[in-house]
Symmetry: C2
C-alpha cells in the first residue's frame, strides 16, 4: 500500500476541484491499495518544499463539496520544471519527497505544461528506479489539449460566455436606438479561439448576438472588421462583438498591445476589448460599451455546465483507476462516442502525445467570412455546455468549501529553495 | 374603459421585464377598466413617434416569460424630455397620442429622470385637461431612488457582483503564490456606491475577498490604497479589490480619465479597474488581473435574486392597482417592514418627491477606514440578494422570450421629428 500525491497546476477553473473530488473519493474507496492522498500546497511547489495537505483529515462532506467549489482548493502554481538535464536537482528532490512519504502515485492536474512535467517525473522515476505511477489529469479552460475531445474546465467557461453574450445582447438591443450601439466582450484564449467560439452559441438565428467573433487564429483586419460592424448596426440596430484576448494584427503583435500608453508613458496592459470598441467610435461615432470577463469566466461555478462537472469528476476518478491498473505516464481523455444524442466515455492517452501540444480551432469551425462559427463548430460545442449543476446557496450566496488544510509532518531535514 | 401606455426608460436591468409582466398580467385581470396595454417601442420615443407595440397580441406564455427575461423587451431609451416651458410641443404631442389611442393610464418604468418625466406628463395633462393616471415604476441597478427601501434591478446586480467577487476571490487565492496577487473587479455606479458595496457581501470572515472596496462617495487616496493592498498581500497572500466606475481623485476627476492616451493621442476611455490594478504593479511589482463587468452585471438574469424578481413584479402590479384606485403622479415603493426575518410590502410616494433625487450610500454603511462595508450595510444589503430564481434552460442556455411586437396602427397623420 502506497500513498498518493495530487497537485493542481496552472490557471484554475470552475471544476478543477471536481477532479480533485474524483481523485480523493475514488482513492478512499481503495484503502487496501492507496493509503493517504497528500495534496501539494500550491501545486508541485508543495512537493518540492515538502508543503503538503493531508486530505485524510478532511471530512467526507468537505471532500464532496469540492465538486461544487471553484478555484484551486489546495492552491495552484504557475511553475514549470526545467528539463531533466538542466535541473536534475528538482526532479531528484521530488523523488526524495515521494520516498520519504511512501508515495507511489503521482496525479498531476493541469494543462499542456503540466502534462510535460508529469511525463518528466515518470522518466526520472524510471532513471532513479523509484516505482511510481504518474497519471496526468486534464484541465484547462483553453480547451487546447490534443487527443481528448474536450478539456474539463472549458465547458463551464464556454457556458458562462454563451450565457453572458446572450444576456448582454438583449441589453444592448434595448438600448441601441438612443445609446450604446456596439458592445464588446473580451474573453480568454491567448492562442486558441475555443472560448471566443463559445460566444457564438448565444445566437439561435440571424441577427442574434454575437454579430462578430474575433478569433486569435485569424489575423485582424481593421477595415473588414469595421465594415462588418457598420453592416450589423445598419441591419439590426446594434452590434455585439466577442473578442479573444489573443487577437493579433497582421504584424503579429497582440492588438491589446497596440501602443496605448498611460500618463507615465508606460505601455498600458490589455485589453483588446476597449481597443476594438474604441475603433468603432473613431470610425463611425458609435457609442460603445465593453466588458472584460477575465477570471469571472473561469471561476463562474454558479453557471457551470453539468456535462463539464461530470467530466471533471470522471477524469479524476479515472486517473486513480488507471494508476491502480498499473498504468503509467498516461492521461485519461474524454472520448465523444456520439454527438446527437451526446454520449461520451473515458479513454487514455500517453503523456508524451499530450505534452506541450496545442489544439487550435480548426479552420472549418470558423465561417468563410471569419467572423462566426460554423454548424460543425456548433455541433461540437453545444453538448459541452449542456445541463446546469447549481451549487447550494445560503443567504443568497453559493456555499463554497474551505478545507481545513492540515499539513503533513515534514520528514526531510533539508529545506529546498525555489 | 381606457387603454394603457407602458414604457421602459434608461439603462435596463435583469428584471425590468418582470415589472412589465406585472403591469400586463394585472391589466389583463381588469379588462372591465383597462382595454389594451400599448408599450412604447424604445421608451417614450415610442409614444412621441406613435411607434407602439400592442401587447394584447402577445400570448399569455410570452407575457409570463417576461418575468425571466433580461433587457428591455420593448426597447428602452435614454431620452429626457426638456422642461414643459422649454419644449411644450413634445408634451402636447404625448397628449395627442394618448387621446388618439384612448389612453387613460401612463406607466413609466425607470429611474430618477424618468420619474421627473412622469411627473411632468401628469402636470401637462392637468393643464390640458386630459384625464390620465400617471404612475411611475421604479427601476435602476444604481439603487439611488429616494423613499423606496431599494430599487428593483439592484438586488440582482448586487447578487451578481457578490457571487462573482466570491468566485474570482477563490481563483486568485489559488494563484497568488506564483502568479496573480491583485485582482480588481470594476462595477457600475457612477455616483452612488451601492453596487460596489454589494461586493462586500462576498466575504464572510476576516481575510475573505474583497479586501478593499473603493466607493465613489470616498475621494481616492493613492497612498492609503497602496498601503492597504500591500497589507492584504502580506497578510493573506493576495488582494481582491472591488472598484466603482465612479471613483474620483481629490481633484474631483474620475480616475478612469486619469490621462491615459491611446496611440493616436486620443484620451482612452475607462475603466478605472485597469488604472488601479496597474498602480499596484508600479508600486510593488505585483502581478495583477482585472475584470470589467459592465452590462454583464445588469443583464445577468441567470443569477437574479428571487427577492428582486418578486419586487420587480410587485411594483408593476401595484402601479396598475394604484392607477385603478384613481391615484395619480405616484410611484409604488418597497417598504422594509422587518430586517430579520426580511419582510416587505408595497407603499407609495408622490413622484415629486422621487424625481431627480439621488440616494447615496450613507457614511455609516462604509467602514471607518473607508475600504469596507459595515454591519449596518450588510444587514441592509443581505436580504436583497436572497433566493435564486433560475430561468428555464434549453440546450444549456436560458430561454429568453422575444415578443412578436405587433405594431399599433397609427392614427395621427403628422409624423414627429425627435
Amino acid at each position: 500500500m502506497k500513498n498518493a500525491f495530487y497537485a493542481q497546476s496552472g490557471g484554475v477553473t470552475a471544476v478543477i476541484n471536481a477532479s480533485a473530488c474524483g481523485v480523493i473519493e475514488t482513492a478512499r474507496k481503495h484503502r487496501d491499495k492507496i493509503g493517504k492522498v497528500y495534496a501539494g500546497r500550491h501545486g508541485v511547489l508543495g512537493a518540492l518544499t515538502e508543503d503538503m495537505i493531508d486530505t485524510s483529515k478532511e471530512s467526507r462532506a468537505a471532500i464532496s463539496a469540492l465538486r461544487h467549489t471553484p478555484g484551486g482548493a489546495f492552491g495552484s502554481a504557475r511553475y514549470k520544471l526545467a528539463g531533466i538535464d538542466k535541473d536534475r536537482a528538482q526532479y531528484a528532490r521530488l523523488i526524495d519527497i515521494f520516498r520519504a512519504h511512501d508515495i507511489g502515485y503521482f496525479f498531476y492536474n493541469g494543462g499542456n505544461d503540466s502534462m510535460d512535467t508529469a511525463q518528466k517525473v515518470s522518466e526520472i522515476a524510471v532513471q532513479m528506479a523509484y516505482p511510481i505511477a504518474c497519471v496526468g489529469i486534464p484541465k484547462t479552460v483553453d480547451n487546447d489539449l490534443p487527443i481528448t475531445d474536450c478539456c474539463p474546465g472549458f465547458g463551464s467557461a464556454a457556458k458562462y460566455i454563451a450565457v453572458s453574450t446572450r444576456e448582454a445582447g438583449l441589453d444592448v438591443a434595448s438600448m441601441a436606438r438612443t445609446s450604446t450601439k456596439v458592445f464588446v466582450l473580451e474573453v480568454m484564449g491567448r492562442h486558441a479561439g475555443w472560448m471566443a467560439a463559445a460566444g457564438g452559441l448565444a445566437g439561435d438565428k440571424a441577427g442574434d448576438a454575437p454579430h462578430i467573433i474575433l478569433f486569435p487564429e485569424i489575423s485582424f483586419d481593421r477595415e473588414r472588421f469595421l465594415a462588418k460592424v457598420k453592416l450589423s448596426v445598419e441591419k439590426y440596430g446594434y452590434c455585439v462583438v466577442v473578442v479573444s484576448e489573443g487577437v493579433r494584427g497582421s504584424d503579429g503583435k497582440f492588438l491589446a498591445e497596440a501602443g496605448t500608453k498611460d500618463a507615465f508613458g508606460h505601455s498600458q496592459l490589455g485589453g483588446v476589448g476597449p481597443v476594438v470598441a474604441q475603433m468603432t467610435q473613431q470610425a463611425f461615432g458609435y457609442k460603445f460599451h465593453w466588458a472584460v470577463a477575465d477570471y469571472l469566466q473561469r471561476s463562474a461555478r454558479h453557471i457551470a455546465s453539468k456535462v463539464d462537472v461530470d467530466q471533471a469528476y470522471a477524469v479524476g476518478k479515472a486517473a486513480v483507476e488507471l494508476a491502480l491498473k498499473g498504468r503509467n505516464a498516461v492521461m485519461p481523455v474524454i472520448v465523444r462516442k456520439s454527438a446527437k444524442p451526446y454520449r461520451w466515455s473515458i479513454g487514455e492517452a500517453p503523456l508524451s502525445e499530450v505534452a506541450n501540444k496545442e489544439k487550435k480551432l480548426p479552420r472549418n469551425f470558423i465561417t468563410a467570412d471569419s467572423f462566426g462559427i460554423t454548424a460543425a463548430c456548433r455541433n461540437y460545442l453545444a453538448p459541452l455546455i449542456a445541463g446546469e449543476d447549481y451549487p447550494p446557496y445560503r443567504n443568497g450566496l453559493p456555499t463554497y468549501v474551505t478545507l481545513k488544510g492540515v499539513s503533513v509532518v515534514k520528514r526531510l531535514r533539508t529545506p529546498f529553495v525555489i
